[in-house]
């Protein structure tokens, strides 16, 4: 069902606006809409929100890894309202630590670079300034690959260059070249000589080196201390997360559109009829001076919808919403879809053992993860479907891939019989869709359309099905002929001219191929249930092959566990996807358009924390 909605106009004093909005955000019952001329508050929190999100990302490496099933920290509703000074201090402290640490890490890198450049020249006994060019001599310092050293030597001798080796490592030799300033410079780069500029103007290299080493050690120690401090602080505080959520809520508030006059602010939006009281209570908690009026939606307005179904059906809503949200004033298909989804899912899995395993695993996961929102709903759907899975498993005698006393028959031994059953399910499913459309048409007083477009096809399909049953063959032929006649005569009724009407009728009758492919599509139920069964059987067979010895027995246990869990997960994914497809294309194609949008009220949706309600609000 789609809950009735009201359009609300709320007038409050300008000064009260912020507080009223905050109260409304807490109660989460108003979806604001934007009118021409609407203004917004200055976006101040958005910047702070970005800052906190960056901080959260930055401190992530310093926080201990959260377990897979860890819960978000809880925060009292009352402390959530305004950012606390101490939290802000903590966040600032974290930011300072992070930036200081980044600086020190950078400094360490620089020092290490300096040390690497100076090291080969450590043994140089002259100060660096002694290597500056003089009036008569030109000095060049640099390195040469070891393999080219001899070549350099001979080149130097030829050109009257004095060569002095300083040191040597695995790849290069470090040398000083001295030459008369009056001689032309010798080009050495071809043989791989590379000139080096020392990061040092004056003084002795080994002193500078010792200095740099000392500094590096010091900075490294400082950085280590800061890392430790950061780790302890990041581990002990939830301040960045709390602040992030507070700024997010604040930013949402600032983004709320409103109209304003000199003294008042006008808020407009949608609320479900039954939550009107909550809305009024929220406003009253802030101020006595307000004016609240609510009206029904007008024709042609784009009304957001809230679905209102019983607990079981509401779990299946997400499946419809993924396809398309129902329109306001339209038809909510969830109540009809849910039992079919449930049944078809069970048939696709079709194994009592897997059904049981599914139920146990989901119950454990629910206990550990405490899922919320859509995930929780999906898990609930799977939990419900485990019942049909067990049921189908017992009916068709499948237990972890082994066939054992089927009540009806085993699909593996008699796939054709199973194919007929699945196609029968398909016909029933499609008929349900057509009946829903007939009801919709009758509600809209389009009785003729219902007979021409839906009843006729039900006659044709029903008739064809009856033809396959020997005693009812004549009845079937008559029904199918009547249905086909109706379609031939009426499918072109919207077309102009005689030719248009005739071709329209023929084209309409051609639609039988669509129905045929729709019904054949349900054969996937057989294919998927066989796939689950046979892969399970193969796992059992593989495990059985190696069960000769003690080690073999232990290995076979491993194959049983890994194999069946793998098969279960794969089967679940396939069943979920293909069950959805059958609903979306074969079933919804007959009667459902959707195209609405969901009611998303102004509310607090924390990602990193949980808010604990403590009475009030």
């Amino acid at each position: 069902m789609i809950a009735p909605m009201k359009f609300v106009t709320l007038v409050v004093l300008r000064d009260d606006r912020e507080q009223v909005l905050q109260a409304l955000q807490k109660s989460g019952c108003l979806m604001l809409c934007e009118r021409e001329g609407a203004v917004r508050a200055d976006a101040e929190a958005a910047e702070a929100l970005r800052r906190m999100e960056k901080l959260i990302a930055d401190i992530k490496p310093y926080k201990p890894k959260k377990g897979l099933f860890a819960e978000n920290p809880q925060v009292e509703s009352a402390t959530f309202d305004t950012p606390q000074a101490e939290d802000l201090q903590t966040a600032e402290k974290l930011e300072e630590l992070l930036s200081a640490l980044a600086q020190n890490t950078q400094r360490c890198k620089q020092l290490a670079d300096t040390i690497r450049t100076l090291e080969p020249w450590e043994t140089l006994s002259e100060p660096v300034e002694a290597l500056r060019d003089t009036v008569y001599t030109r000095f060049t310092i640099g390195r040469i690959p070891i393999a080219k050293r001899a070549e350099l030597q001979s080149l130097c001798e030829q050109n009257d260059v004095h060569l002095q080796a300083v040191s040597q490592d695995e790849t290069s030799a470090y040398v000083i070249l001295a030459q008369f300033a009056s001689d032309p410079p010798v080009s050495l780069s071809e043989i791989g000589f590379e000139a080096v500029t020392l990061p040092l103007q004056t003084g002795l290299v080994f002193r500078a080196l010792a200095d740099a080493r000392g500094q590096l050690e010091e900075t490294q120690a400082l950085a280590d201390r800061q890392t430790k401090e950061l780790q302890t602080l990041a581990e002990s505080t939830d301040a960045p997360f709390l602040l992030c959520e507070q700024y997010r809520a604040q930013s949402d508030l600032e983004d709320a559109p409103f109209l304003q006059t000199t003294e008042t602010a006008i808020l407009e939006g949608w609320t479900p009829e039954k939550r009107l009281k909550d809305l009024e209570k929220a406003v009253q908690s802030v101020t006595e001076i307000y004016d609240l009026s609510a009206r029904d939606p007008e024709e042609g307005e784009d009304v957001p919808i809230e679905l209102q179904n019983n607990h079981v059906v509401s779990q299946f809503e997400g499946i419809t919403n993924m396809f398309s949200v129902p329109q306001y004033g339209g038809y909510d298909p969830n109540a009809v879809m849910a039992p079919w989804y449930w049944l078809i899912f069970g048939m696709m899995m079709g194994d009592a053992g897997y059904g049981l395993l599914m139920a146990v695993l989901i119950l454990i996961l629910k206990k550990l993860m405490k899922p919320k929102g859509e995930t929780a709903k999906l898990m609930q759907v799977l939990l419900y479907s485990s019942v049909t899975t067990i049921l189908c498993g017992v009916l068709f005698g499948s237990y972890f891939g082994e066939t054992w006393h089927p009540i009806l028959f085993s699909p593996l031994d008699d796939p054709v019989k199973m194919l007929i059953v699945t196609l029968g399910i398909g016909v029933a499913h499609i008929f349900t869709g057509l009946i829903v459309q007939i009801v919709n048409q009758c509600r809209a007083h389009h009785f003729a359309d219902a007979i021409f477009d839906q009843v006729s096809w039900m006659l044709v399909i029903g008739g064809i099905c009856l033809i396959f049953l020997k005693p009812a063959r004549t009845v079937g032929i008559i029904l199918a002929a009547v249905g086909a006649g109706i379609i031939l005569c009426t499918a072109g009724r919207a077309k102009k001219g005689v030719v248009g009407k005739i071709t329209g009728g023929l084209v309409g009758l051609y639609g039988i191929t669509n129905y045929l492919s729709d019904i054949l599509s349900y054969s996937r139920i057989l294919a998927l249930s066989l796939a689950t069964g046979v892969v399970g059987m193969v796992m059992n067979m593989l495990a059985g092959m190696i069960q000769g010895s003690v080690i073999g027995f232990i290995l076979s246990l491993l194959i049983y566990i890994v194999g069946h869990v793998f098969n279960l997960v794969l089967g679940l994914l396939s069943a979920y996807v293909h069950d959805c497809r059958l609903q979306y294309i074969e079933f919804y194609g007959k009667f459902y358009d959707g195209g609405g949008r969901l009611f998303k009220p102004l509310s607090i949706n924390p990602k990193y924390i949980q808010i604990k309600e403590n009475g009030g609000n």
Binding site: P415, A527, A531, V534, V577, H578
Partner: protein, 156 residues
Amino acid sequence: MSGISIAIIGAALCAALAGCGSAIGVMAAGKAAAGVTAEKPDLFGKLLVLQALPGTQGIYGFLTAILIMVRIGVLGGNAAELTVWQGLQFFGAAMPMAITGLVSGICQGKAAVGAIHMTGKQPDASGKGITMTALVETYAILALLTSILLIYGIQL
């Protein structure tokens, strides 16, 4: 050539070709998913589902191969005596799954790449992407069904 060797070639091709199709499809989807994950690590779970979708063909091919092996008794240890014609029948029965598995696995991989890119831009639309990708699989399922019905229809 004896009948049983022809049947075995059919079963082998079925597992091999469908497996290749899935491998290519999953590889293409995996590359796209890795690219999206680099930018948005939070989407990993959603993308993994999309990447896994083209993997089913390989399983269907494997399944068909096993069914042929069971039918001709290779797995049980006492292989049936097949005439050449019966062997050819098994070979033919394996072909729908082998060929469609190869082609549809690759095609579904391409559809999955599109869906993964869409999920990267609009994480909420991943459900729609899954549906679009799953439509390709219909033909693999029909081929699997044809192969299974043929394998069980062969008179021994």
